[in-house]
């Protein structure tokens, strides 16, 4: 029931915000803030209740489950479930939800009720994506978050919002229709094989199928997640959408929407099609590394501050892709931490850019400069976030990228070596960003207000969260590690011999099970 509330709360808050916008201008944002906060409290309670203490062997995959029949004719159920992976991302969603509301506190005045309705609906859709475990329901939420996001960009965005919004919609919709074909294909393959027609994720795990079938079906899923993840070469919607969206939209896009792609890769692509994923892994990892470098180079070349941050996302999401397809204990953990840390740091950067744009009415970095003197607090926050973006030790991003690289090293040394260049490149763009924006001469004579109390509070919360994950990542790793290992076990049971993983790293992880290749194909715990 708690899982349902996590989705219902934002929806209720949004609807209430719309209804009350008639009477008061400030009620919608207060109600939205309240709803987002309530969601965070609920998520934290869920986390504390279900994930504290050591896991027992007989616990099963899910720590909380809700299952109602929905369309029995097709074997579709309203099936929500939570494990370590999803709870971490739900926590991130609720946290960034509050931030998104806070970031539009003064920015959005026009049609505020409708704005907050859309904002809350996106949050509900994203939460649903992280919790849905029935593939039909997953697709339902997957599409559901699209429309409100489209409205956010199209109605409250900046100058070039219309083409950007349409591009965003078409990219994601087309790719997700291919995923729908993949889902349907999997449904029928499984149904013909077992006689049970169902969309349930746990049942579909380990469906035996021909090699080419698996590759095609996987590519259907892959297309959708690749587009959402914003990894090159399917990223072209991302810079436009991120740049043109209002601040809250950018925060959600970068902080959460991209993560749904990474989540889909971790949860669906590899576990459902382990053999195909294993076969294509070298290609995917190659693509990921190219994306890392490409995104970094593009970020370096941008003059629009928002666009710059958007391209850093392309680069960082390459690490997530790399980590997923390296598919070992280290790299998957790294991918997850990278998602969370990137969500916080890039969400924060967009928040900051939004605040800056609200004050100086431009995003052109060639017109900025010398802002440190007039807004020292804001500049300090910017420096911290930039450092996080370049993965300085002590930030969550470092843990994420380091683990991914470590995991990749075990699979392919050359790829890991090239990916390291991405971190170096990130230093160039991050430092350039700080230098051009906050240092140097104040050419245009900007005199701007420093962070308000609201902005300071949000920034502080973000920085604490980033540093916390960077210095003490155990809560995140411990919560999600078990779930990630579980998924690797089930997929390894069907996949070809996994790369050897001897000698475990200093981070606390569950001991590796006995040689996975010994289990029979198709067998599940």
């Amino acid at each position: 029931m708690m899982l349902l509330w996590l989705i219902v709360l934002p929806i209720a808050g949004g609807v209430l915000a719309l209804l009350l916008s008639r009477w008061s201008e400030s009620w919608p944002r207060w109600i939205s803030l309240l709803a987002a906060a309530a969601q965070l409290v609920l998520a934290v309670v869920l986390w504390g209740q279900r994930f504290s203490g050591a896991a027992r062997a007989g616990d099963g995959i899910w720590r909380g489950e809700l299952k109602w029949t929905w369309i029995p004719q097709f074997g579709i159920s309203f099936h929500l479930a939570v494990d370590g992976l999803s709870v971490v991302l739900v926590l991130l969603t609720a946290f960034l939800g509050i931030m998104a509301v806070a970031s539009s506190w003064t920015e959005t005045r026009e049609h505020a009720g409708f704005f907050y309705l859309n904002l809350m609906l996106v949050l509900a859709g994203i939460t649903g994506v992280f919790l849905a475990i029935d593939l039909f329901l997953f697709y339902f939420f997957w599409e559901l978050m699209l429309v409100p996001m489209y409205f956010l960009i199209d109605i409250w965005g900046h100058e070039g919002r219309h083409p950007a919004a349409v591009k965003f919609f078409i990219f994601t919709q087309l790719s997700s229709l291919f995923m729908l074909l993949g889902i349907l294909g999997l449904y029928f393959v499984h149904g013909r094989h077992t006689g049970i027609y169902t969309f349930d994720y746990t049942a579909l795990l380990g469906t035996p199928m021909g090699q080419m079938t698996a590759v095609w079906l996987m590519l259907g899923f892959f297309a959708a997640f690749m587009v959402k993840l914003g990894a090159a070469p399917l990223h072209t919607w991302l810079p436009d959408a991120h740049t043109e969206a209002p601040t809250a939209g950018s925060v959600i896009l970068a902080g959460l929407l991209l993560k749904t792609g990474g989540y889909g890769m971790l949860r669906f692509v590899v576990p459902l099609f382990p053999q195909a994923a294993h076969r294509l892994a070298p290609i995917m990892m190659g693509v990921a590394v190219c994306g890392i470098l490409y995104g970094a180079l593009m970020a370096f070349a941008q003059t629009d501050l928002k666009r710059l941050v958007a391209y850093t996302s392309v680069s960082h999401m390459g690490f997530v892709l790399l980590g997923v397809f390296a598919w070992n204990a280290l790299s998957t953990r790294g991918a997850l931490v990278q998602m969370v840390a990137h969500g916080l740091s890039t969400g924060g950067l967009f928040f900051l850019v939004g605040a800056l744009q609200e004050r100086i009415r431009t995003r052109d970095i060639s017109r900025m400069g010398g802002l440190w003197a007039t807004a020292p607090r804001m500049a300090g926050v910017g420096l911290f976030l930039a450092l996080a973006s370049m993965a300085i030790p002590g930030t969550g991003n470092f843990i994420g990228e380091f683990l991914v690289l470590l995991g990749t090293w075990r699979v392919s040394i050359p790829l890991a070596a090239v990916a390291v260049l991405g971190i170096i490149a990130s230093a160039t763009y991050a430092l350039r960003m700080v230098q051009v924006t906050f240092h140097g001469p104040n050419k245009e004579g900007w005199k701007i207000a420093d962070c308000s109390a609201r902005e300071t509070a949000v920034s502080a919360a973000l920085m604490i969260a980033i540093a916390w994950i960077g210095l003490y990542p155990k809560p995140v790793l411990g919560t999600a590690g078990l779930a990630l290992d579980g998924m690797r076990e089930t997929s390894a049971a069907a996949a070809a011999p996994a790369p050897p993983e001897a000698g475990f790293p200093p981070i606390e992880v569950k001991p590796e099970p006995a040689s996975p290749s010994a289990t029979t194909p198709g067998g599940r715990p």
Binding site: Q73, F136, L144, D154, Q173, L177, L181
Partner: protein, 488 residues
């Protein structure tokens, strides 16, 4: 024919009686309200008779008509849609010059023809139903005699419909010459049994019939009339053509194909694949260029019939259920979209220019919300009926491994996004900042749109149905599986 058969035929008889009754009452007392009330009562009675007859089905009533779950399902759909169109038309006609009352007679007559089509199992009833539908539509399309567009549209439809009916008749004659019977089931049986009946003669006949049917469904390349007629006809009539006329003919086509096992014949199947692909691409690509909402909806409806053909191609009970569900979703969505166009149309003319919709969301949020929901349903976004419909069709296609049409359907859905979103964008455009001064001139005609209580009720009902079908489709699927899909 027995007397009991008359009971079975009630869903066809009652609309006809309604038309006659309205006509008679009109001779004594000309009142718009009374006419609408009588029409609605007659349609409600017809709908009730559909439910009542369901217990007696399935039965063959003479060799012309078969009353089975499939027929009754589509009859119910047709009558329901006519009911909605009647509700929408009342306020639309109220403000206009000329006499509104005869409109309803024609509407109900057209519905009678459509119900006949849904139950037809014989060439004679096929042609009879089709002509009854067509002839009523000629007059309905040109109901506004004052404007040039209406008359042009009416004449265009008249000529092309007569022409295509000729094709249809010739095709029927050829099939009859080759097979020797006019009953669908018997034709199917003989086609399967005899080798030499599968001659060129029969094939040619089938192809010519397809021309006639393709015209009614506005499939590419028989679609040329659609945009002009949709544009020229009164908005409620366009909605009626897009739903009832197409739905009835599609129901007949589906039955015809299933009885004849047309999928077994390679050439025919190839023809359907080509037509489906052409319709999807043609409808969507041509819609991209439209600035007129009525024409845009016309092209969109061409594309949607292309999607439906994919379901038709995927044979089997799943395909029939998919087509049934898609049609229900399409009916609700299309009636809703045309309902909004109707509601926004003032006395001076229909709200058809895209500019008429600029900033509607901030002026009339509820109406804009309904229109958005309908457009999203046409795109196929969750929570709306269109999503489940598209899902169902894709499912049927994937099951039958129709990869080419299915992938083309997916690509076309993306193309369709462009023009649906264009309308959505316009709805939510800030009226203040972006509207040119000329927008102010149009304002007065839109401030008093013809949305009335009945139209509002209809739109509310349609929106609720849209969401119900999109969120909890299990009930409707059960109904369809119990009635429609078991007919074959």
């Amino acid at each position: 024919m027995r007397a009991a058969d008359l009971v079975l035929l009630l869903p066809i008889i009652l609309p006809a009686v309604t038309a006659a009754a309205v006509m008679l009452v009109l001779a004594f007392r000309r009142s718009h309200g009374l006419t609408v009330g009588l029409t609605l009562a007659g349609l409600a009675a017809s709908f009730a008779s559909v439910l009542g007859v369901a217990a007696l089905a399935p039965q063959q009533v003479t060799s012309l008509v078969v009353v089975d779950g499939y027929a009754l399902f589509f009859m119910g759909l047709i009558i329901g849609a006519t009911f909605v169109v009647t509700l929408q038309a009342r306020a639309y006609l109220k403000g206009r010059a000329g006499r509104p009352e005869e409109f309803y007679i024609l509407l109900v007559l057209a519905a009678t023809g459509a119900t006949t089509l849904a139950a037809s199992s014989h060439f004679a009833s096929f042609l009879l139903g089709l002509e009854m539908l067509s002839v009523s539509l000629y007059a309905l399309i040109a109901y506004e005699r004052e404007g040039p567009l209406g008359v042009e549209a009416g004449i265009k439809y008249l000529i092309l419909a007569a022409f295509s009916a000729g094709f249809l008749l010739f095709g029927m004659a050829l099939v009859y010459a080759g097979v020797g019977t006019m009953e669908f089931l018997a034709i199917g049986a003989r086609l399967r049994a005899g080798g030499q009946v599968q001659s060129e003669l029969v094939l040619l006949g089938l192809a010519m019939m397809l021309v006639g049917v393709g015209f009614k469904l506005a499939l590419v390349p028989f679609h040329l009339w659609a945009p002009d007629v949709y544009e020229g006809a009164p908005a409620p009539v366009s909605g009626f053509i897009a739903t009832v006329s197409k739905g009835a003919v599609f129901a007949l086509l589906l039955r015809y194909c299933s009885f004849l096992h047309l999928h077994a014949y390679g050439p025919v199947q190839l023809l359907f694949v080509l037509i489906a692909i052409a319709s999807m691409f043609g409808g969507n690509l041509l819609a991209l260029l439209q600035n007129n909402v009525k024409r845009l909806l016309a092209y969109s409806s061409i594309a949607h019939l292309g999607y439906l053909l994919v379901a038709l191609l995927a044979s089997g009970p799943l395909a029939i259920a998919a087509a049934g569900y898609y049609l229900v979703a399409y009916f609700v969505t299309t009636l809703g979209a045309w309902g909004v166009v109707t509601a926004l149309s003032g006395k001076e003319g229909d709200a058809e220019a895209l500019d008429d919709y600029r900033g509607l969301a901030w002026r009339r949020p509820w109406l804009a919300g309904v229109f958005t929901a309908m457009l999203l349903s046409l795109i196929g976004i969750p929570v709306t009926a269109g999503f489940v419909g598209k899902f169902y069709v894709l499912m049927a296609g994937v099951r039958s491994s129709l990869w080419l049409p299915v992938v083309i359907l997916v690509i076309n859905s993306a193309i369709g996004l462009f023009y649906y979103l264009r309308v959505v964008i316009v709805l939510y455009r800030h009226a203040r900042s972006e509207e040119p001064a000329s927008g102010a001139l149009r304002e007065p005609s839109l401030v008093v749109p013809s949305l009335s209580l009945t139209g509002g009720v209809a739109l509310c009902g349609l929106t609720l149905a849209l969401i119900w079908l999109g969120v909890y489709p299990a009930t409707m699927i059960r109904i369809i599986e119990a009635t429609a899909a078991h007919a074959f």
